[in-house]
Symmetry: C2
Amino acid sequence: MSTAWTALADPTRRTIVERLAARDHTAGELGAGLRISQPAVSKHLRVLREAELVTVEPLGQRRIYRLRPEALDEIDDWAREVRDFWRQRLDALDTEIARGRRDTHPAQPTERTDDEP
Amino acid sequence: MSTAWTALADPTRRTIVERLAARDHTAGELGAGLRISQPAVSKHLRVLREAELVTVEPLGQRRIYRLRPEALDEIDDWAREVRDFWRQRLDALDTEIARGRRDTHPAQPTERTDDEP
DNA sequence: TTAATCTATCACTTGCCAGTTATATAACTA
DNA sequence: TAGTTATATAACTGGCAAGTGATAGATTAA
């Protein structure tokens, strides 16, 4: 079972997700235009299913794939969190500067402390 | 050269980015607590550099790593775009429904059209 | 200078992943 | 019914990516 990150790391799967954002597609429709074999498409769809980025509904012999955009939350929640941390960091730095310290780099390998994060 | 997507697909590298969001770190600090060898850390940092997610500044024998949060744009621009498409799709569907059509599934494998996207 | 420290690179191994062909299963069509 | 179509799975291959230990290069400490 894969995560949204690993599922979306693959450009082919991102293409599939982009198409599904516009409308639902059958597996065959998704395969058309993707210069890879039908089984390869099927495997990409499996990965997207397991990452819960898409759902499937059988319609006769076809399978209708539909995007589940909530699954993208994992991605941009993370990105937002990282940015928030970054902003806090900047704010803290500004505060220190305002206080008149000249302690510019937060990195601060603190003289002789041995490598602890 | 790797993209932000492939760089962030790896959980170890996401951890590194999270730490760098809070403050700058030396390579050694980042390695501490990451139960992998020093060369492994160095390679992760190289990937992050090549994806331009981080910058480095030498300070004596150490290397100070700093996050470049702009590189995250690639990620959430994509996510936002996908969501926007999805929303347009929903809006279009609502419109059709408002018009009284009963043409529910946009997938529409249109009877006998052969697989074109 | 010599020794120790920090980081990167080299050479190599291993495991996973995307691709393939062949085949199975199910649902339509004639 | 038999034949075709749509999709998934099985079995395999090749390449790449992440791990390792060994080593190089540069800086700091003695």
